[in-house]
């Protein structure tokens, strides 16, 4: 199979330099193990996340466009890979706005000129998620061929969060029939981890809100939302919740601990990035994929499963 995204510009975003560092590490290691090259976008900036977007969406469009401009105009790439759902969502949104909203084009043009870099034009790059990067480059067969340490004894609930598929109109490549990603029932993570041997459980809250936006303003609501997701995963028979977003991942880990400390509500399900699980299946060590950098300790569990 031709590797569609053999070499792409890599936009880690702020979270992957902080709380999501193990996601950063495991993404890079998995890329190496699969022969997929990443080159980090030079001098990248924040995508505008929620903070800027809530105040002025057009500034967020500009900030995201700058990242794409550097990748396209200064580095010569036609693809930017963003593993964080927030960054992925914002770059896709900026792309959509620049394609459809003349006012956004004007603001981005003015700010780019003022900042002294080339203005990004819609269509110069394709923004993809880490799931697209691996799935569309190697497919399930490509993963199966490379598995050294099957995840066969793992029951996994794949949790995509709410920004990976919404709003639908900024993801025109999804819902395109067989093989494409679905915005209603996403399955790329299920496909990849299934190919690595895992048993994916039926999990009804795979795109439900994790309460990330409430974390600071109303921690109790976030804890309740997270614990409901965790309880649903456990009731589905899952031992692990696989994640693909640093905000969701941190929220699940931290509120799982908070629930136990404050409410005495204990749960055993492990929260692990899909890139960490995939890395273990490809024969990487727990340290290489940053298991030690996760908030909660899953080493004992991984040893028990023969994965560490």
């Amino acid at each position: 199979m031709e590797q569609k995204y053999k070499k792409v510009a890599y936009y880690p975003g702020c979270a992957l330099e902080g709380t999501g560092h193990s996601y950063n590490r495991s993404t890079k290691e998995v890329g190496k193990a699969l022969g997929l090259e990443l080159e980090e976008v030079k001098n990248w900036n924040c995508c505008g996340a929620m903070e800027v977007k809530n105040i002025d969406p057009k500034i967020q469009t500009y900030l995201s466009s700058r990242v794409m401009s550097i990748a396209a105009n200064e580095m010569g790439y036609d693809t930017v890979m963003a593993p964080c759902n927030g960054c992925y969502h914002n770059l896709k949104k900026a792309e959509y706005d620049l394609e459809n909203d003349p006012a956004s084009v004007e603001v981005v043009g003015q700010l780019s000129e003022k900042a002294g870099h080339e203005t990004y034009e819609a269509g110069q790059v394709e923004t993809i998620h880490a799931l697209d990067w691996i799935k569309d480059s190697l497919g399930e067969e490509g993963i199966r061929e490379r598995v050294k340490n099957s995840l066969k004894d793992l029951k996994i609930a794949n949790y995509y969060g709410c920004m990976y598929t919404r709003p639908r109109h900024i993801f025109p490549e999804k819902d395109q029939g067989e093989g494409s990603e679905s915005t209603v029932k996403p399955h790329y993570m299920d496909d990849l981890l299934g190919a690595a041997g895992a048993e994916n459980v039926e999990f009804p809250l795979k795109t439900a809100c994790c309460g990330g936006a409430h974390t600071l303003s109303d921690s109790d609501t976030s804890t309740k939302l997270v614990m409901n997701i965790i309880r649903a995963a456990e009731a589905s028979g899952a031992e692990v919740i696989a994640t693909e977003c640093p905000t969701c991942h941190s929220g699940l880990e931290m509120h799982q601990i908070r629930a136990e400390k404050i409410h005495g509500e204990k749960s055993n399900v492990k929260i692990i990035y899909f890139t960490q699980l995939l890395g273990l299946a490809l024969g990487l060590s727990p340290k290489q994929v940053g298991i030690h950098e996760n908030v909660s300790d899953s080493m004992g569990f991984l040893k028990e499963k023969g994965l560490a």
Binding site: R166, P204, L205, A208, C209, G211, D218, T221, R231
Partner: protein, 139 residues
């Protein structure tokens, strides 16, 4: 439309006491409708009686999401409620029915938590105890 606190208590109760699966599934679906009705009413909108794909819950969700794209973060949660309702009512004697009911309770609870969380942030709704600190601070 029952008060939000009663809906929350109702979900908890039904999760533990669902003797008749089809009736319980219908009640969970009704809870879902009422939760979205609360959101609409708090925004001075009259909840629709229309159906979308045969379900009022989906029509209510559609109505609530108009002009508020972030409300779509619970779109699939509403759809999951409908999915489990269909599974349970089409074959209440299925061996998986108890597990499906448990899932439906969790999905209904998620919808409740998501929407009431949004209402608290917006300082809306009838749950004065839960939102009092936020309101007090805002004043």
């Amino acid at each position: 439309m029952r008060p939000l606190a009663d809906i929350e208590a109702g979900i908890d109760y039904l999760e533990r006491n669902a003797a008749r699966p089809a009736e319980a599934a219908a009640e969970f679906l009704k809870f879902g409708e009422e939760i979205v009705e609360h959101w609409l009413t708090a925004h001075d909108k009259a909840p629709t009686d229309a159906l979308k794909e045969g379900f009022r819950l989906l029509a209510l969700h559609r109505q609530a999401a108009q002009g508020d794209p972030s409300f779509n973060a619970c779109r699939e949660t509403c759809r999951e409620l409908v999915y489990y309702f269909n599974l349970i009512t089409l074959d209440p004697l299925h061996g998986e029915t108890n597990r499906r009911l448990a899932m439906m309770a969790m999905v209904a609870r998620h919808l409740y938590l998501f929407i009431t969380g949004k209402m608290q942030v917006a300082e809306l709704g009838d749950f004065c105890c839960a939102s009092r600190p936020l309101r007090t601070n805002a004043n």
